[in-house]
């Protein structure tokens, strides 16, 4: 799988998880890769923890303290990049 495919697969899983866990399934299909998660309160302080637990379970990526930043958590796109990067470093 190419790096781009990997990243797309991570993004798809994160989108599905956030839709089902925090947006009642997102019936109107509004969530996209660049939807601001923090600014819109979709990721509130509590479910951020749920999402971190999910990335650890699903992708085996432990997010260190300094990576839990508004930059990394601002959208599914930025989250996917972070997860992908961490996974590549771990594999190497």
């Amino acid at each position: 799988m190419t790096a781009m495919q990997e990243r797309e697969e991570i993004a798809a899983k994160l989108l599905a998880f956030i839709r089902n866990s925090f947006l009642a399934g997102d019936p109107q299909g509004e969530l996209t890769g660049d939807t601001p998660l923090l600014a819109l309160g979709i990721l509130n302080s509590l479910n951020t923890a749920t999402l971190i637990a999910y990335t650890q379970e699903e992708f085996g990526v432990k997010v260190p303290l300094h990576d839990v930043s508004p930059e990394n958590f601002k959208s599914v796109d930025s989250l996917s990049s972070m997860v992908h990067e961490r996974r590549s470093t771990a594999d190497a």
């Binding site: 997102d26 109107q28 509004e30 509130n44 509590l46 923890a49 971190i52 930043s69």
Partner: protein
């Protein structure tokens, strides 16, 4: 009276006594007292050159770093008042607060500054908080009077606009001195700073530390609710005094394995405030640590005005621990519905008078006489108080004080919202803000579109955790919106 007369003297005097001691130590950066003092002095010079004068208000918008803390001190040194704004707040909120506070100057790190558009009309003066090598250090400082404003904390207002709680130097110092004495704070202490800088809990963490030359360890805003990180933080930073809302301790216990590891040997005081703490959590914490546990009480308008130290006898009660008796030099009493002072066993609204009672809401008439908290209490046999609940609709969600009507007002500004109601559902850790929205006929307004609309005027903590689209809202027999029915229907 002994000791400093201005809040900013606390840092200045500790920097003179112990320049090499660590003032700030956290993931956002570290600084010794000398470094923090120098940064505050340099920034005071920059602000003075931009015409910041005694009595002005300056917005300080930024993460919990030494630079942000230095900016707050720089503002105070000029005799101005700082207005902290949460780093995650939307730009529209920053602009609203600037307008409400009549602030002309914004102090923020370089990455946040450009987010406020130049044509906003507010905040024409923008100053970066980063240290500038070679900037002239301003060593002079204004000796403020006790009744001059030191900072303004904006809280949710029931009318839809945030209210600026204006705290004087004297207000803050009365509370900080009490806290330092009560905790017997020493230079060896390491105070966790969990709360946002916009929240009055942070005043204890920062200024009790500055009073005695101790270290404050700020928890970054983004991890403030990530349980495993918080537990890790508590151990790694060898925290001696932890102060947070109870729901955060409950979260650390339930999802962060707080009680699975032995309590850190450093921990000597566990403080909580802001909402009632379920007694079973307190029991478990008491079994886990030998640290003192203190339940503090007080609205932002008075900061902490009562305190109760948890004793073994409290743990056998089935209800939360009492809020205790008056502290910080204040006098507190309960007023019954017929206007009498409540006696033992009676209920009433808690009133506060004394040195911590705020100056007033910014831009509104000054506070005169005792402050009526809007909180219902019962007088205990020993004269201390049990907290019962609110007189009005105000709710607390994860420690944030929220007026549901302010959120409802924001929902109603969307053209496709016919009617909306906002309630808090669940208890303790599961407490969350829920919006019920009846859309106009034919509207396909979605969850995220509605959130985008709210985010233009509300900070993230006021955006509902849940949005439910409904075909009608329940009404009681008089045709009034029946919020109790909404809550009952949706609570498990």
């Amino acid at each position: 009276m002994t000791g400093p007369g201005s809040l900013h003297d606390l840092l200045i005097e500790s920097a003179a006594r112990t320049p090499g001691a660590l003032a700030v130590d956290g993931p956002g950066g570290t600084a010794t007292y000398a470094e923090l003092d120098a940064r505050a002095g340099a920034l005071a010079g920059v602000l003075a050159a931009r015409d910041v004068r005694r009595g002005d208000r300056v917005l300080v918008w930024g993460p919990k770093t030494p630079d942000t803390l230095a900016a707050m001190q720089a503002v105070l040194r000029l005799g101005a008042a700082y207005v902290p704004v949460d780093p995650l707040s939307p730009v529209a909120r920053v602009v609203t607060i600037a307008r409400e506070a009549g602030a002309r100057v914004l102090c923020a790190p370089a990455d946040l500054l450009p987010r406020v558009p130049d044509d906003a009309g507010e905040l024409p003066v923008r100053v970066g908080t980063a240290a500038r090598p070679g900037a002239p250090v301003r060593t002079t400082r204004v000796l403020t009077g006790r009744d001059e404003p030191a900072y303004i904390l904006f809280t949710s207002g029931s009318t839809g606009t945030p209210k600026g709680v204006t705290i004087s130097h004297g207000n803050a110092l009365a509370f900080v001195r009490w806290a330092v004495t009560e905790l017997a704070a020493s230079p060896e202490d390491r105070f966790a700073n969990h709360a946002s800088l916009t929240f009055d809990l942070s005043v204890l963490d920062i200024y009790a530390a500055f009073s005695v030359g101790a270290t404050v360890c700020p928890v970054p805003t983004e991890v403030a609710q990530v349980a495993t990180r918080l537990v890790d933080f508590l151990h790694r930073h060898r925290i001696t005094v932890w102060y947070s809302v109870p729901s955060v301790l409950a979260l650390m216990r339930r999802e962060g394995g707080l009680l699975d590891r032995p309590a850190p040997g450093s921990l000597r005081a566990l403080l909580f405030a802001g909402e009632p703490f379920a007694i079973h959590h307190v029991r478990e914490l008491a079994a886990w640590t030998g640290a003192r546990m203190l339940n503090l009480y007080g609205p932002t308008e008075t900061n902490v005005c009562t305190c109760h130290e948890v004793r073994p006898g409290d743990l056998t009660r089935g209800v939360p621990v009492p809020i205790g008796r008056a502290c910080s030099g204040d006098r507190v009493w309960a007023r019954t519905s017929d206007g009498r002072t409540a006696g033992p066993g009676e209920e009433g609204e808690l009133l506060v008078s004394g040195p911590t009672v705020f100056l007033g809401y910014w831009g509104r008439p000054p506070q005169r006489g005792p402050y009526a908290t809007g909180d219902r209490v019962r007088v205990r046999a020993d004269g201390s108080f049990d907290y019962l609940g609110r007189n009005d609709g105000q709710v607390k969600v994860r420690g944030h004080r929220i007026e549901p009507s302010e959120v409802t007002a924001a929902l109603h500004t969307h053209p496709e919202v016919l009617e909306a109601a906002v309630v808090a559902l669940g208890d303790g850790l599961d407490r969350r803000l829920a919006a019920f929205v009846h859309r106009a006929p034919g509207s396909a307004l979605g969850n995220i579109a509605l959130r985008r609309h709210l985010a233009r005027s509300l900070p993230p903590q006021m955006i509902p955790d849940e949005v439910h689209f409904v075909d009608e809202l329940p009404r009681n027999d008089r045709g009034k919106l029946d919020l109790a029915a909404l809550v009952a229907h949706h609570n498990p």
